[in-house]
């Protein structure tokens, strides 16, 4: 418990710095929400009117004052108002969470299910054809950008194959099977790169573990190779992989920005892109805050999992 409190406290500077950076970066971009809206409405709004609108939303005040006000409101649970959508930010963000979470978690779990056994197998059977195939796939996976993987999936599976929808998202509460079908391609796109990273990590970690003295002890006990790998090596070898799993959650979000755009999924990533383009400051800040908190939370869960897997951690 004390550990959890310590971790939560350690997260505060992270959240603070992220919010300062994103706040300043957004203000450094040319234009503001009012200019963008005026440009899109095609009307000849007078400079006076624009100025009045800016004043109304507080965009004419110094940046640090705006930041102070934002922090004050955010702390009381008010994320602000989306100028572009004319809705409170929370109402814009909330419906976007489910698609991103569903696709991201599917990709994450798929990556674990594939890369741990594959990494273990390739480590034990080094230089076998499976090992070479795994290495090749990992290199391709790490080298392929999301838009290319996604584009290929759309072309071959959705358009040529006609097997799965090419875009959109359906909530599982509306139509479960359709929801599964719309999740598969974006999740596969995301998971491909993740599998590449995790398999390499799992392989090297398993290979290293298999050299250790207690593995020799396990063999000297008369255990078969399967028991040696699964009972004695696995729990130790996945520890570094668990760390990577937590770190990779951040890259899942950055991947979501691209895949949700490619597959037209109304998720958090897509919202972020749209909000940046429309200079919808409050939404950008809220999304970044949301992502930061998710990553911090995920790493906290990883640390707790680590403590469960490694008895040496629990003590300290």
């Amino acid at each position: 418990m004390q550990f959890v409190i310590k971790r939560v406290l350690a997260a505060i500077p992270v959240v603070f710095l992220t919010s300062v950076i994103i706040f300043s970066l957004m203000r450094l971009l040319p234009g503001d929400p009012i200019t963008v809206m005026a440009g899109q409405s095609q009307s000849d709004a007078s400079p006076e009117l624009l100025q009045q609108l800016r004043h109304q939303y507080g965009f004419d005040r110094p940046v640090y004052v705006q930041y102070g006000l934002w922090v004050q409101r955010a702390l009381s649970g008010d994320l602000g108002y989306s100028v572009y959508n004319r809705l409170p930010v929370w109402d814009v963000l909330r419906p976007r969470i489910l698609p991103t979470a569903q696709i991201g978690l599917t990709a994450w779990i798929l990556a674990i299910l594939v890369s741990l056994p594959l990494g273990a197998y390739t480590a034990v059977r080094m230089n076998s054809w499976v090992d070479w195939l795994g290495t090749a796939l990992a290199l391709i996976g790490a080298a392929m950008p999301y838009f290319l993987t996604g584009g290929l999936f759309i072309y071959f599976v959705a358009m040529r194959g006609g097997m799965l929808p090419a875009s959109g998202f359906v909530s599982p509460f509306v139509d479960f099977w359709q929801s599964v079908r719309t999740t598969i391609l974006p999740a596969l796109t995301l998971t491909f790169a993740l599998i590449a990273v995790l398999t390499r990590q799992a392989r090297s970690s398993f290979a290293e573990t298999m050299q250790l003295a207690y593995i020799r002890t396990a063999r000297a006990k008369g255990l078969g190779e399967g028991a040696v790998v699964f009972r004695h090596a696995a729990q130790n070898a996945i520890l570094p992989v668990v760390t990577i799993l937590g770190l990779q959650l951040g890259s899942l979000f950055s991947g979501a920005v691209v895949t949700e755009t490619v597959f037209a999924v109304p998720g958090v990533g897509r919202l972020l892109v749209d909000a940046i383009l429309s200079r919808d400051y409050a939404v950008v800040q809220a999304v970044v805050l949301f992502i930061t908190l998710s990553v911090v939370l995920a790493n906290l869960l990883v640390d707790i999992a680590y403590g469960l897997l490694d008895p040496r951690i629990k003590q300290s």
Partner: protein, 344 residues
């Protein structure tokens, strides 16, 4: 003249293990190197055989060969390992697994890393019992606590639930002994079992092994570079150099009358109370000049010749055969007579 070591066993007892002409090779990328060359010995029930030599002399490789736990690059190229009337060389792996941990156990040098850090010590002992004795999880756990009591770990029931990092080095080595002796093995291969421990702990561990050996009748192959350990604990001693057995005798005989210059050198490099064996004046310890030849460039003759003060032209040309130099005492040296003379 040394007294014969007190062996209570009758001479006609069949050996637990008979190693005959063992040759183990390392396959490197471009060539094959011998790590163990034509090593033979036998070990009887309840007996302790000390195997001494510098690191890299092939003593660990010999033990790993017997347990068939060689690293992937090494293989047994020739010889027989007669254990219980069976030749372990060529025994199918599933059969070998039934031997390992039950009939032949091993203890390793590194008590810090030889136990799995994420499993309780109780589980690590119970595992062998479930595997070889067929106990249920519950029974095996209770038996594991008994084994911990046997190796004199205080509060065994509580300790069984602890993890290796919660134990001291000496405690961990006791756990290793408990694992190794859990199934009352016929042969225990102890590879530098006390090297990583404090001197006081070393004595306790060796005493424990001796006690258990007495009650279980286990034959022990004690691999070490510590001659003091051998003097106190072994019945017979094998001296190895560059992959070969160069001398073998009962322990008192070997210490009293070493026939191989290498053994003589080893004895000269231990500090002793009283007179030094090799008189190098002012009580300074003697050392063996040079170092063990690399396996890649073994000389054509005696491997020790380049470092040997007794070496003649013959030594550089031909490998000396193992011959009985004194009753029950064999050595591989062309000049054993001169070595023995130098003692008096």
């Amino acid at each position: 003249m040394a007294e014969a070591s007190p062996t209570t066993l009758p001479e006609n007892v069949a050996p637990v293990i008979a190693v005959e002409g063992l040759r183990t090779e390392l396959a490197l990328r471009d060539r094959v190197l011998p790590a163990v060359i034509d090593v033979s010995f036998a070990l009887k029930r309840g007996q302790t055989l000390g195997v001494v030599g510098e690191s890299g002399c092939g003593k660990s490789m010999t033990a790993l060969s017997i347990a068939r736990l060689l690293p992937p690059i090494a293989r047994i190229a020739a010889g027989r390992l007669l254990f219980d009337g069976r030749d372990l060389v060529g025994l199918p792996e599933p059969d070998m697994r039934r031997v390992r941990g039950r009939d032949i156990s091993m203890i390793f040098q590194e008590p810090m890393t030889s136990l799995n850090p994420v499993k309780t010590i109780g589980y690590q002992i119970a595992e062998v019992l479930m595997l070889h004795v067929g106990l249920t999880r519950r029974q095996a756990w209770d038996a594991a606590i008994e084994k911990l009591r046997l190796v004199k770990i205080p509060e065994p029931a509580r300790r069984a639930g602890e993890y290796p990092h919660q134990l001291s080095g000496g405690m961990r080595q006791r756990v290793m002994i408990a694992i190794a002796l859990a199934c009352n093995p016929k042969l225990l291969l102890a590879d530098e079992p006390t090297t990583a421990l404090d001197v006081t702990i070393q004595a306790q561990i060796m005493e424990l092994m001796a006690e258990l050996q007495e009650s279980l009748g286990t034959a022990i192959m004690l691999i070490t570079h510590d001659l003091g350990l051998v003097a106190e604990n072994a019945d017979r001693v094998i001296v190895m150099y560059a992959g070969r057995k160069v001398e073998e005798a009962e322990v008192n005989e070997l210490f009293a009358a070493p026939c191989h210059p290498y053994t003589l050198g080893l004895l000269g490099s231990i500090p002793e109370l009283g007179a030094s064996l090799t008189r190098t004046g002012r009580g300074r310890l003697s050392e063996i000049k040079g170092s063990v030849p690399s396996l890649t460039q073994l000389p054509p003759g005696c491997a020790f010749a380049p470092r040997c003060g007794f070496a003649s032209e013959q030594c550089h040309r031909a490998v000396p055969p193992l011959e009985e130099k004194r009753p029950g005492h064999i050595a591989a040296c062309w000049h054993a007579d001169r070595v023995l003379e130098s003692l008096s």
